[in-house]
Symmetry: C2
Subunit: 387 residues, 2 copies
C-alpha cells in the first residue's frame, strides 16, 4: 500500500511529530506523539478513514466503503508502528489499514488539537474609515499566482479590494472574474449593466442614490463576491461608498446589545420582483454562525418587505433597524471613492455593504458592469493555490 | 393617489373584510374589521409602508424612503376611512398616506392574522415506498401554464417528479430547465454528462453503485432542484432509487431522538476535490429551520470528510450516522425505477436523496445528462404563475 497515493484530498500532510506508541482500549486506540500530545481515535473512526484502494477509489479519491457495512464492534486484531512511522492495524475481519502520521495528526480530535485547528482558521480583519484599501493590478493577477492568492486572501479576510488596469471594453470583467471561477448568473444576467434606464427593474438602474446595501438579499444565498467594473464615469456624482458590515455589527453588539439581538433573531423579508420574477427571502439582517460570531449581513432597504413581527416585537425591531441604518451613515465606518474607467471593485457582498451617491445623467455617461461569484468558489480557489 | 398603482409587489390583494373603524393610540392605530378582527399597526410601520409615489419609485416599485429619515415620534394629525374603504392618514409633518384595506389586512401582524398566514404556508407532503409518483408530459408543460404550475408545486411539496416525452438529443434538458429558469452552473459545467469515464473526477462518473445522497453537499447552498435526463440506457443495472429525506428524518426523530439530535447539531465536513477545485462545507446532516422543522438533508457518504467532534461526541455521531444510513436502505422508504430514454427525474436535491444501482458498461451504453436550478428560482416561478 502506498501511503502517498492514499491521501484522499490532494493535500500533503507534513510530519509535525512522530508517533511513539499506540495503545488499544476497548473502543479506541490511544496514540502517543513525540511532542507529548496524546490523541485517542475510536476504532470506528479509524476503520471509516482507512485510505486503502479497497475503501477509497484511487481515480476519484472518493470513499466507496460505507461504515454501516462494518460490524459495530469491529476491533483491531494487532496494531504496530511500522518503519515508515505509520500506524498499522490488522482488523479482526482480516482487513488491514495503514495511517500516515502527518495525516493522522492533522485529523486528530483530542481537545488540544481541535482547539489548535480552530485557532488556525482564517479570521475577518474588521475595518473602518481608516482602511488602507487593498489595491491590485490586473496584469499581475493574470501572470503571478502569488499575487492572485494575495488578492483572494484580501477578499476573504478584508472583504473589500480594488483592481486596476482592467480594459474598458464591455465584457472585460468576465476575464477578471474567470481568474477565480465561473460567474453566478441571476435574473439580471451573467454580466449586468449598471446604467440609468428608463424602464429600470431595480433602483440600481436609476440615477438615484442607493443606500448602503448587499446585493440580492432576496435570495437564500446572497452572492459571495460582487464585482463592479467602471467602463465610463463622466457623470457628476456617483461616488462609491463602502462600510464593513461586520464592524458595524460588532459595534452594535457593544453599544446596543438589545438592538443587536433583535437584528440577529427577528427575520425580515426581502423582495425583488418584476414582471417575470418574484423573489422573497425571510432571514435576519445579522446572521450568526454556530459559535455566535457574525457570519453575514443581509440588507437593502429598497428591497425590504413590510416587517412582520409580533405587536410587542415591532417597536423593538424598528428601533434596532433605525439604529443599524444610522450607523451605516456614520463617518467613522465609511470609505468613499470615485471609481475611474479601468478600475473595479471586488468585495464580499455578504459582509461589505456598498452604496452610491446620486449622479446626474445630464452631465455625462456612467456605465458600470457587474457580476457575482459565490464564496464556495473563492475558498476553493484559495485552497487550490495554497496546495 | 391611485391605490392600485401603489401596490409595490405586482400582486393584487382581495378585500377579505372591510375596515369599519380606526382608533389612534399613543404609538399605533388600532383598526377594526367587519369580520371582528382587530389589528394594531404602529405609526412607524404605517409611515414606513406608505405606498405613495414619493416613498416608492413607481417604475421599479422599490422604496426610496428610508424610515431612519422620519422622526421617531411622528404621529398622525388626522385619520379617516375614505369612500373607497381605504385608511387615510395625514401625518403631523404634512405627508399623507393611503392604505388599501386588502393590502392592509394581508400584512396585519396581530397574533390571529399572523397565525392564519403561518398556517397557509405550503407544507411538505412526506412520502414512502407507496408514493404515487407525480408524472408530467413535456409537451403539456411547454404549452399549458396550469400544467407547468402543477409540476412546480409537486416539486415544491412532494420533491420528486418525472417528466416524459423529452427529446433524447444531448442538450434537450436545457429546454426543460428553462421552463423554470436559468441553470446554476458548477465546476462540473452547466449540463453535466453522467457516464462511466476512465478519468472520473467523481464516483458519479463511474459504473459503481452510488448510495443515497444529495448532490454537492460540499457547497454552502446545495442545488435546490436536480434534473437527470436519460438519453441512452442500454446497460444492465443502473436503476434509480429515491427516498424522502424529510420522511426519514421524521421517523428518526420519533424512533431515535438522540440520533436525530446528533445529526442536526454536530457539523460534518463534505469535500469535493480534484486537480482544479477543492470545495469544503461544514454543516449538520439534518438542517432545522427557526421553528425546529427539518428544512434540509445534506448527505453523500463518498464526499464526506473525516468526522471531527469531541472524543465524547464521536461514538454518538457514528451511531447516529449509521442509523440514518441504515434507514435510507430500508424498503419502507425506497422508490426504485429504471429511467427510459426521453424520461427525466426532477427532484428537490435538498430533501430527496437519490441513488443508482451499479451498472455493467460491458452490456451497453448508459448516458444521462443533468443540471441544477436553485430553490429561489422555483419559488419565484411559482409566485409569478400564481399572480
Amino acid at each position: 500500500m502506498n501511503t502517498a497515493a492514499a491521501f484522499a484530498d490532494f493535500r500533503s500532510y507534513p510530519l509535525i511529530s512522530a508517533l511513539t506508541a499506540a495503545h488499544p482500549l476497548a473502543d479506541r486506540i490511544v496514540v502517543y506523539w513525540a511532542d507529548g500530545r496524546i490523541s485517542p481515535y475510536h476504532h470506528v473512526w479509524l476503520r471509516d478513514n482507512c485510505p486503502c484502494p479497497q475503501c477509497v477509489y484511487t481515480v476519484t479519491r472518493e470513499q466507496v466503503l460505507e461504515i454501516v457495512d462494518v460490524p459495530e464492534d469491529l476491533a483491531p486484531a494487532t496494531l504496530r508502528i511500522d518503519d515508515g512511522g505509520c500506524l498499522c492495524i490488522d482488523w479482526q475481519d482480516g482487513h488491514a489499514s495503514r495511517f500516515d502520521p502527518g495525516w493522522l495528526r492533522a485529523h486528530a480530535y483530542d481537545d488540544e488539537t481541535r482547539a489548535e485547528r480552530q485557532a488556525g482558521k482564517p479570521k475577518s480583519r474588521l475595518w473602518d474609515s481608516s482602511l488602507s484599501l487593498p489595491v491590485f493590478e490586473f496584469a499581475a493577477l493574470k501572470e503571478d499566482p502569488k499575487a492572485l492568492l494575495q488578492w483572494l486572501v484580501a477578499l476573504r479576510d478584508t472583504g473589500l479590494t480594488q483592481v486596476r488596469g482592467v480594459p474598458t471594453e464591455p465584457g472585460s470583467l468576465a476575464e477578471v472574474a474567470r481568474l477565480i471561477s465561473f460567474i453566478r448568473p441571476t435574473n439580471f444576467g451573467v454580466l449586468f449593466n449598471v446604467q440609468s434606464k428608463a424602464d429600470a427593474d431595480s433602483n440600481a438602474y436609476t440615477a438615484f442614490n442607493l443606500p448602503l446595501h448587499s446585493d440580492l438579499p432576496t435570495r437564500e444565498l446572497q452572492p459571495g463576491l460582487q464585482f463592479l467594473h467602471c467602463l465610463v464615469n463622466d457623470a457628476e456624482g456617483g461616488e462609491s461608498i463602502f462600510v464593513d458590515g461586520f464592524a458595524i455589527a460588532d459595534a452594535l453588539r457593544r453599544e446596543d446589545p438589545a438592538a443587536f439581538r433583535a437584528l440577529s433573531e427577528i427575520p425580515v423579508e426581502f423582495r425583488n420582483k418584476d414582471r417575470n420574477s418574484d423573489y422573497r427571502c425571510l432571514a435576519p439582517v445579522i446572521a450568526l454562525d454556530s459559535s455566535g460570531q457574525v457570519s453575514e449581513i443581509r440588507m437593502a432597504n429598497f428591497l425590504r418587505g413590510p416587517f412582520e413581527a409580533s405587536v410587542e416585537q415591532m417597536p423593538v425591531l424598528y428601533g434596532a433597524y433605525r439604529r443599524f441604518i444610522a450607523m451605516t451613515r456614520e463617518a467613522r465606518f465609511r470609505v468613499m471613492q470615485r471609481l475611474n474607467p479601468g478600475e473595479l471593485w471586488c468585495f464580499d457582498n455578504r459582509r461589505t455593504l456598498h452604496a452610491r451617491n446620486a449622479f446626474d445623467p445630464a452631465t455625462g455617461t456612467r456605465h458600470f458592469q457587474g457580476c457575482y461569484i459565490d464564496r464556495d468558489e473563492l475558498l476553493s480557489r484559495i485552497l487550490v493555490l495554497q496546495r
